[in-house]
Amino acid sequence: MAYCVRCGVKLASGAKTCPLCGTEVLLPPGMEEPSSEPLFAKKLPPEGTRGITKARKGLVELIVALFVVSEITVGLSLFFSGALSYAFIPLFCIAMAAISLIAVVLAKPRYVNHASWQSLIAAILLLGLDGYDLTWAWSLIAAGGIAMFWMYGVFPWTRWAKKYAKGSVALSVLTTLFYVALINVVVSGSFTWFLPVAIPTLLALLVGSSLFLFWFANRKGNRIPIADIVLGSMVVLFISSAVFDGALTRYQTGAVYLRWASSLLVSAIVILLFMVAVSLSLRLRRYFTSHNRHD
């Protein structure tokens, strides 16, 4: 039997390291110890069992108990006051509040998990409030807005989005198109301005962004100055605004001209020319920047 040289404890026969400090057991060459009987019959399983801890379980049970009590109390009070026909909304709100609290207690403490659950619960709550008579109107736009928040505020931080970056961008674009179409259908009852106004504007936005991304991605060196990102975004936004103005004017009056976005278009062209010039001429670049980041 060996002793740990660091702790001074006697180790079980055949031990390779000291369980207390991890010091390796070094036996003289050629000497081997038979392994002693293990402390328990089997090896430790690779993972522990899973479950909810005592305090979390307690909180969930407390929420459920309070939920049941509130539902019964509100239900009975509405029944006795003769307002049972209005019972759906308060009872539904209590249920959604309970589910929201339980989600807070049970969800893994990650932004993506909490934001996803709370977005879903908020969307269901709005759809439920609007659709108690089985017709949905404003809640579709509101729930769609929540979906858009999730798409741009939560989805990029998911594992899937990180793994498939291009796919997630495409999905975001499609979702945006779908949401704009939904607004059009809900507000007007059919596609009216979606095809002649929204599609060209979004297309301009998409094409402009893609071209700039392509341009930046193919530059020498990896660093893109913030000034270029800001200027590029301005160009894309100004041109998209001009397209929106032109498309809206044509949709409303039938004529092709710009009503208020002509100055934006001119600004976009000036900025674009400046960016191209700075990119092509080393002298210009040195004149406008304190250090050369483009190489």
Partner: protein, 434 residues
Amino acid sequence: MKRIQNFAPEGFIALDNSALIYPPTEAVFNANTFRVSMDFSFTIKKTILEQALHDLLYRCSYAKVRLHTGFFWYYLSPNDAEPVVHEEGSYPSGRFAFKENNGYLFKVLYSEHRIALECFHALTDGSGAMNYLKLLVERYCHHAGIQQVKFSSGLDYKVRPTKQEFSDPFQHLYDKHVPSYPTISKAYHRKGNGPFDDRVKVISATILTEQIKERAKERSLTIGEYLSSVYLYSLQQLQIEEIPNQKQRKPIRLSVPMNLRRIFGYDTMRNFTLFAVVGIEPALGFYEFDEIATEVHLQMVQAQSKKRLLSQIKRNVSGERIPIIRFAPTALKNPLFKLLSDFLGDDQYSGVISNLGYVALPSQLENQVVRCDFHLSPGLLNKISLSVIGYLDRIVVNFNSFYATDTSLERIFCTFLVEDGIQVEIATNRENTR
């Protein structure tokens, strides 16, 4: 002081006062279980063990129960299902799977040379479980034709169970005129290093009784007091590393379960344990080991005073008797018990050290018993529990831990013993050391 006993051997059996907290607070990292076991030089056969288990349940009919969730309280009722003998797994004192165990609150396990009894705390405490194990071993030896053995203390198979065996002494000892025991402030809890999971990793330290007895005697301590002092001393070292600012150091306290059977002269097989809380105040300055030993000795003597124990019993039982608690549905009581158990229990101490005492073996078994063990499930706040048991000329101190890699407490504890001239032999179920 007088109260009619609240048990009924058939039908509905109320949990004892001490057990009320265990079913609602059972969860991952809070298994509320413990295990006692004996290792033998002979091979254990499952069929014989099953016979022995039948005998045990025939003698101790009050253990033949299952747990139910009632509308107001959890309760026990007779269990007619076949008891199951399990093959030993990889770690002790895990969460109790009642369904796999046909509803029984205790589990008999075996391996090649070991008979173990794992118990959910709602059924009994460590001393009760040890009595069950002794009877199980007696019956095993009887059926295996090894030898007729009889442990000096414990249950007699041939004698009918007395009423006292399944009585709840807490209800007898409750006196509403005694003031309630005061609650105490929060204690220090180790943060620990590295990951943890709910598999109980054990480091087992075996010590020669003679050596530790000598060291304890030098300081006029019992062995239990000596080990508690070492535990406090180790926690103090870890606290100093963790909290450099002396003023911010919270009290370090240990919960030391006390067997009340000897103190009050009851022979119950249900829970009859209270906790002595012994500790130091590191905010006042560094405690030398001898200072800790003096504190522990004085506090243990105080804690064993009958008057203080009756006051604790008053506090515990009166909680159960408050009408609003008594008539509140279980669904409402459960979450409150779960949330309050930390504030009133685990929060107040920094560790548990449970000493089951010396197991006197019958002379016929002295050469047959290789080892005795006692394991106690740790908790989420105090992720290491210490369980101590003595047999023949040895004492086994088991460190039951949830930490995957952190063994600093165990190291400081064992190194102190070695430096104090006590030889310590270490064994473990941690994988990286084999």
